[in-house]
Every structure is written in structure tokens, then in C-alpha cells.
């Protein structure tokens, strides 16, 4: 229970910071909505529905990347990560708390973005919503680990996309597959498997990322 209390305190702190500074969620929202507008004008009239569904996943991945780039900015500013490393008994709680807050930001951005996507490109089916929810878990798990690694580096703006984009390719494959295939269950299974495997790897390895 103490572990979960630590996770709760750290996630609550991130939500409070965002409520005060408002520098992540509004940027994510603006980016995802602008992407849809651009896609709407880029795609020729009468374009296949499948092409539009693919673009949804492009927008989701890059919106997540935008949020992840800011994930550890508050910790970096005042070297707060040192304080958290000393105070937190199990360092994976820092990852867990941060992943929860990133998941919340992604979910909030998508609650707005999916209806807008539906407005531009046609109805969003339930299986798409399920695929997005599963992909969000994987993005938050892997993205938090990589954002933590990048935060310690001088070339963080370069490092994060270089690490993140190749690692989320399975999520894009699973997401697009679940959205357009006749039988989405195997693709949803792939997403769930990715979440479980990469979630465990990220949870177990975060301590090595923040400790020198």
C-alpha cells in the first residue's frame, strides 16, 4: 500500500503541476486538432477511409511524443529528480506515477480528438476506441522510460524521438490493424501483449535509468 501511496502522490503532483502551468495538455490538444485539419485538406476528396484511419495513428503517436518531451521538464529545471531519487524508496514508483499522468494527458487529448476525427473522416468505431486505449497504455509505459532516459541527456530533443518512434512501431501496426482489419481481435491481443511485456520491462528498468 505504501508503494501505491507513493505512486499516487507522484501522479497527483504531476496533475497539479499541469493544472498550474498548462504547458503540456493544451499543446497536445492544439497539435492533434491541427493535424486533423491539415490531413483533411491534404487528403483528396473521396479518399479511401483506410488512409484516413492510418493518419489517426500518425496523429496519436506524434501527439504523445509532444507530451513526452515535456514529461520530465519540471524535474529537470531544479534537478528535482535528485530529491525524488533520495526520497522514494522504490524508484519504479517515480516511473509509475509519471506514466499515470502521461496516460491521463493522452486520454484527455483523445477524448477531444476522437470526436473531431469522426467529424472530419467518418464515424469512429468502438474497436478503434479500444485500440487507442490499449495503445495509450503502451505509449505511457515505454514513453515514460525513454523520456526519463532522454531527460538525463544533453541531446534530449533528438534522443527521445530516435528511441521512441522505432519502439512504438508494434503499437502502430496493432492499432492500424485493429482499426481496419475484418477480425480485429488478434491485433487487440498484440496491443495487450505489448503493454504487458513493455510495461514490465519499463517498470523493472526505470531504477537503472534514474540512478547513475
Amino acid at each position: 500500500m505504501s508503494y501505491l501511496a507513493d505512486v499516487g502522490a507522484l501522479a497527483r503532483k504531476d496533475l497539479l503541476l499541469e493544472l498550474r502551468s498548462r504547458d503540456t495538455l493544451p499543446a497536445m490538444l492544439l497539435f492533434v486538432l491541427s493535424s486533423f485539419v491539415v490531413f483533411h485538406f491534404v487528403l483528396p476528396t473521396g479518399t479511401d477511409r483506410l488512409a484516413a484511419q492510418g493518419l489517426l495513428w500518425v496523429a496519436i503517436v506524434f501527439t504523445a511524443l509532444l507530451g513526452l518531451a515535456r514529461a520530465f521538464s519540471a524535474e529537470r529545471e531544479q534537478s528535482v529528480l535528485d530529491g525524488l531519487v533520495l526520497a522514494t524508496r522504490d524508484l519504479s514508483a517515480i516511473w509509475f506515477g509519471k506514466a499515470l499522468s502521461i496516460l491521463a494527458f493522452l486520454a484527455l487529448a483523445e477524448v477531444v480528438a476522437l470526436p473531431v476525427f469522426g467529424l472530419f473522416f467518418g464515424r469512429v468505431e468502438l474497436r478503434t476506441v479500444a485500440a487507442v486505449a490499449l495503445a495509450d497504455l503502451g505509449i505511457a509505459a515505454v514513453g515514460t522510460l525513454l523520456a526519463g532516459m532522454a531527460a538525463a541527456s544533453r541531446a534530449r530533443e533528438l534522443l527521445l524521438p530516435l528511441l521512441f518512434l522505432p519502439l512504438v512501431i508494434p503499437l502502430v501496426i496493432g492499432g492500424v490493424g485493429a482499426t481496419v482489419a475484418d477480425h480485429p481481435s488478434s491485433y487487440l491481443g498484440l496491443l495487450a501483449l505489448y503493454d504487458a511485456v513493455f510495461g514490465l520491462v519499463a517498470w523493472g528498468s526505470f531504477a537503472y535509468v534514474v540512478a547513475e
Binding site: L17, A74, S79, A87
Partner: protein
């Protein structure tokens, strides 16, 4: 409490700290002096368990969460108030009677009236006082202090000296400073770097 032998720290090819040896007994008070760039802050990060030596041996006989580390930065969130910052650390350190202890420290360091102000709006001296509250919050067994006098006004300096005097018998202290005369009355050993 602390034992270092031939302690070394390198970042790539750059040597940040070279072959340092010292011992600090429980309740000892080590004063580290040296010019800028001599490795004082690196040594303190090693003592706090925040960095790993690249050479030599370092033994720290205290758990990580029993260390109170005062760094150059306050290690607090600028967008959170003093109260919220200390509450977060209090929860993570699992401080008993957290609210009372936070209130007592804020009173003691003259920050009670500014407790609802965001740390980002604090002056350098107030931030240093808040950092001291954070460091002392969980009653650490080992205090690692990097330039604790930095930014403090006369009243702040007096408060810090009073805290050190009061805790002298209960904690082990490692302090790096450019003003050794302020802490020499408490010192049990001294290490000059560079």
C-alpha cells in the same frame, strides 16, 4: 558512517574527483574546502548516493532515504507552493505527523506566512530556507550540505547555525563550503580538495 579510500570520479576522460580518502564516524562533522572545480559537489553527490564512484571505495552506512541532501538547487518544484512541496516529500519519506512537522519547520525557518506562495516566486534566500526545511523534514541520519550558507541573509545564517548546533549530537554531517569559519566550531575533521 562514511568510509572513502582512493575515491575517484570520472566523466568520460574528465576527472571530476581524484583519489580522496577520509573517514567520518557516526555523529562526526566533516568540513570540505577547496577552490571551484576541485570536486566538492561531486564528492557530496557520491556521499549522498546520487553518483557512483569510478574508482576507489566508498562505504555509506546509512540507507538512501535517511540522507538529507542540500544541493546548489533547492530540489523543489517551482510551480508548487512551499507547503505542497514539503507535503510531497513528507509523503515520500513517510514522515510521521507530517503536517505538524512541516508547520514546525516552516515556522522555524520563517516561511510560514509564505507557505501558500509558489516556490518559483521565492527569493534566493527563501528558496535556500525551503531547501533546508526539505532536508531536515525526515530527520536524516546523514546530512550532506553543499554550500549551505549560500543566499542566506543574517537571520537565515543564524537559523542554520542554530539548527546545526541543536542537531550536532544526533546526525553525521558532511559539508562543503567556501566559508569554513562558519562551521569549523562544529567540525571533527577537515578535508581540503584541490
Amino acid at each position: 558512517m562514511l568510509h572513502a579510500s582512493g575515491l575517484e570520479k570520472r566523466y568520460g576522460n574528465r576527472r571530476a574527483l581524484g583519489a580522496v580518502s577520509f573517514d567520518v564516524d557516526p555523529h562526526g562533522f566533516l568540513v570540505i574546502t577547496g577552490p571551484n572545480g576541485s570536486g566538492k559537489s561531486t564528492l557530496l553527490r557520491l556521499c549522498a548516493g546520487l553518483a557512483v564512484p569510478t574508482g576507489g571505495e566508498l562505504r555509506i552506512d546509512v540507507a538512501r532515504e535517511r540522507v538529507g541532501f542540500l544541493a546548489h538547487e533547492a530540489l523543489v518544484y517551482r510551480e508548487l507552493t512551499a507547503l505542497e512541496n514539503l507535503d510531497l516529500y513528507g509523503r515520500l519519506y513517510r514522515v510521521e505527523e507530517r503536517r505538524e512537522r512541516i508547520g514546525m519547520l516552516l515556522e522555524r525557518f520563517g516561511l510560514w506566512d509564505a507557505r501558500h506562495k509558489r516556490a518559483g516566486a521565492y527569493s534566493r534566500g527563501m528558496l535556500q530556507r525551503l531547501a533546508l526545511c526539505r532536508v531536515l523534514l525526515h530527520e536524516p541520519a546523514l546530512l550532506v550540505l553543499d554550500e549551505p550558507h549560500s543566499g542566506l541573509d543574517d537571520e537565515g545564517l543564524h537559523l542554520l547555525e542554530r539548527e546545526l548546533a541543536e542537531r550536532r549530537e544526533d546526525v553525521t554531517v558532511v559539508v562543503a563550503t567556501h566559508e569554513p569559519e562558519r562551521v569549523l566550531p562544529f567540525a571533527t575533521s577537515r578535508l581540503a580538495l584541490g
